[in-house]
Amino acid sequence: MIRFSRRGSRAAALIVLAAAITGVVPAAAHSPDPVFGGPLYAQNQELKFRWRAGQEPPAAMQLVIRQGAADANASRNSRAATFVSDPAGASWISYGLNVGCGVNGLACFSRLGAPNSFTMSFRENGHRYDWGILRWCEMTGRPNGCFDARNSALDEFGHVEILTHHVNFADESDFLDAVVQTIQRVKPEAGYDAHVFGRCDIASLQRKYDMLNWAAKYSTCLDLATTLTLSAPSFVNYGANVPLTATLTVVDLDAYERLGGNPVSNRTITVQRRAPGVAAWTSIGVMSAAAAAGTYTFVAPSQTSTAEWRAVFGKPAGEGLKGDNSPIVGVTVSSCRTAPCPQSVPPGATE
């Protein structure tokens, strides 16, 4: 392996030594995928791609690349860009020998054309590397030891959006949390054929491109604080209804990027009540969704006593939001002035 040592010496001869600087908080394992710099595409922007002239993938590969694009569109769970095959597309995808993926690359991408275009490339099936021979599963039908090209395409589309490689735990027990991985697994290892973005891919897509709608679920790779407010009249007449209105939003933090301040609709908000001076709360009912995003209403009927009220958003299972309780709102109920009124002292009783 003379080539190796020569390359090492050449590199050493060229190198300018520089100690790296410390002090930036790194992406932690189990965090949303890191992202890299550069312009984002517009929300829901449709990116049309064509096959690069002279380097068109074979039909089987075209099919899986289109499937990979459809997988990205269907599983982005955000307003990230979408991908569609179009012969007039500004972006291109190539396949072959000299496709720019470097000495060791299976597939590669460039988003230097963002926010208008991208490029993507796949090495040809059977390519000989120093490390072995590339086998795409879809083109060989091999029972093992091959790479799933559709998974690879989804990984590359994730890069095009803005994602870089998920930081796994040391034992890679969280590998399935992301498709955009440093090392693509080979068949039949777990996750080799993942055809939907993982929750930590989606988390970063949501932060960068926002939610598809206000009722959509936040990735469980996130853990966003929420704010719940409650409003009600401070005074009602004896026996009147008490209308309550709550709003639920994601706390507006810079770290949450596009998600900060989002209204959160279609969640379960519970109304609770207690008498003044009493510690325990009693759940009264579940609020209904109002017309405005992130707004909920409830009408407590026929109130006859002063009480304190609050709304409760419990941490939901299956999404990355924290729960919150609203501030307490006091509602004073007037004394009874019109019969029949409840008697504080039953007729005939002696005090």
């Binding site: 520089a18 100690a19 410390t22 890191p34 930081v167």
Partner: protein, 167 residues
């Protein structure tokens, strides 16, 4: 702690010695030689991450094989690589990795897997991690060493490989 301060100077000296008068030198004039290299020249799709050189006292500084990376708007995905051969001392030596560009390193991790094959279940073992300067004790034995580096300022990340063997 004194070693920590002296080590970069020792490595720098070793590198300079290699450049100036070290033993194995590349030819001044490139001479075409027959090769079994399967991969022809290939223009990269975009900017490439810095070269990483592993150095340790008494050893030959060795550039890594570049694996998967995302860098300045482009990237390439590779499998687990066998790595660039490096002969390490039979007792643990302190290795340091230098990058050919002065970049903020937000985090790095060094993992090993038995040499000669891709890692199977339970094969991977993290031997060191940190941020900033990349210094760690080299394991003894035959391993593929994978170094993952995250660059700051959202530049990207890169993975490097060496194949460690006894010197």
């Amino acid at each position: 702690m004194r070693l920590a301060y002296r080590f970069p100077l020792l490595v720098l000296g070793a590198l300079l010695a290699t450049v100036a008068c070290g033993a194995p030198q590349p030819p001044v004039t490139p001479v075409p030689t027959p090769t079994t290299e399967a991969t022809p020249p290939d223009e990269p799709i975009g900017p490439q991450p810095p070269i990483a050189v592993l150095s340790f006292p008494g050893g030959q500084p060795t550039a890594a094989d570049l694996g998967t990376y995302v860098y300045r708007g482009a990237g390439s995905d590779s499998p687990w690589l066998p790595g660039e051969p490096v002969a390490v001392p039979p007792v643990g030596a302190l290795g340091e990795v230098f990058l050919s560009e002065s970049l903020l390193v937000t985090t790095w991790s060094a993992r090993v897997s038995p040499a000669g094959r891709p890692p199977g279940a339970g094969d991977l073992r993290e031997i060191a991690s940190g941020h900033g300067r990349i210094v760690f004790e080299l394991p003894t034995g035959a391993w593929t060493l994978q170094l993952s580096v995250q660059f700051g300022n959202e530049i990207g990340d890169a993975t490097y490989y060496w194949q460690l063997g006894q010197g």
